[in-house]
């Protein structure tokens, strides 16, 4: 399963992008990500979960998942609209990619 995350906006405006293949991750991390996707009921989520809100400097997110059967789904959301499970998933993927690209 491939998970691709793009986070843009925020105070810095710096676009951060990361992708993981769960088959190449330590099993504990892969299991954590699979659990988060299941709890979020990811493939049943609307493609646009953006919550219109006042405010500024909030993150925007785009999460794309392709499972092992080839099913692909993308969810676009933001700070005010993101479900907690996707927030945790995006964080893990972006952090993991950051370390990878640092090597």
């Amino acid at each position: 399963m491939r998970i691709h995350v793009v986070r843009s906006g925020g105070f810095s405006g710096i676009r951060m992008e990361g992708e993981v293949d769960t088959g190449r991750l330590p099993e504990s991390v892969a299991e954590e990500l699979r659990t988060l996707l299941t709890e979020a009921n990811f493939f049943a989520l609307p493609s646009d979960l953006t919550t219109l809100t006042r405010g500024a400097d909030q993150f925007n997110y785009e999460v794309t998942v392709e499972d092992d059967s080839g099913q692909v789904h993308t969810v676009t959301t933001n700070e005010a609209g993101i479900p907690p499970e996707l927030r945790a998933l995006a964080h893990t993927v972006l952090r993991g990619s950051r370390t990878q690209s640092d090597e």
């Binding site: 925020g10 405006g13 405010g55 500024a56 909030q58 700070e79």
Partner: protein, 395 residues
Amino acid sequence: MHTRHPIECIVPPYVLRSIQANGTPAQQVWAMRTLTNSAQFRGQRQVLAEIAPLALAPRVVGKRRMIYDAEHGFILPGRLVRSEGDPPTGDPAVDEAYDGSGHTYDLFSEIFGRDSIDGRGLQLDSTVHYQSSYDNAFWNGQQMVYGDGDEDLPPAERLFNRFTLSLDVIGHELTHGVTQYEARLVYWNQPGALNESFSDVFGILTRQRALNQTAAESDWLIGAELLTSNVNGKAIRSMAEPGTAYNDPILGRDPQPGHMNDYVNTFDDNGGVHINSGIPNRAFYITARELGGFAWERAGQIWYYALRDRLQPQSNFQDAATATYELAGELYGSGSLEQQAVRTGWAEVGITVGEVPQPEPGPVPIPQPVPGKGCLPVAASVLDPVLRLGRRRSS
């Protein structure tokens, strides 16, 4: 133009004030309502200020800061950990949010005569320790929110420090609140980039004033304390030289343009609001450097009145250039050094103002006393000279 109900003009405000002070309870209520209604048109804040002690008695005005701790969760505002007047807590994030929102309040209050975000003493709420390893600070429409950066990672892996560490970041976030109550610039494309730029402008002015720095002494960097030594960069943004703040293997390169020729069209970042803000940022920097001295004294005044009285939700860069140019003429004189500096500032980023005679009418004149019509002359007599700068509606 502003409109007033004719009845409100029958009784002069000084009589109303007398009734309010000395009349029966019912008369006092009536007088208060009439005074506040007639003072509601923009600019008569002084009238409100005079009657505030009585009319707005239950409302506490002045600096009121509340700092909350999200304890690394995402529920806002979180647990209250420091209120106005409380001593320092020893938690740097809490105390920086408290001190920083205080410096920002003081800039708006002492330099621009504004009482807090809404101009009416709105309580300043800030939450720190938002989520864990959160590389951001934001304004959510009601309050300021700060993450701890990468403070949970080993030092060698950290890119961002806690977001309260830069005073201009705190000023930036609080200014988003001011913009929400004034020009209400939509957060998309050029209006959004202006929204961002005004936050950087008053953020850096907050910092310069706290450090007593002139325009020449300031580094004009936004978020200089946010990046760790692991990042190849000096700040998040450079108002003096947009595009030069960082160039890093992980964060990439600072994408800000400093000229309209390099304007970035994108769907990311709400249409590049943090990218194209480099253009108006540099226009302000050049204006302030042209004028010299403390940037909040003249350049800051012009930009503040543009935000408060002239710009509207859909205003673009050209509108901002025109507004600041016209304001410079009204505040300091047509053809003044100040107006020339504003024109130079915008010209350097590729935006032309003041080349052709403006067909717009001049400043709204202060009404002259008219015998038998008590309202206008009394009202006008308490007006600050700048308060005649009426909001100009676009046709």
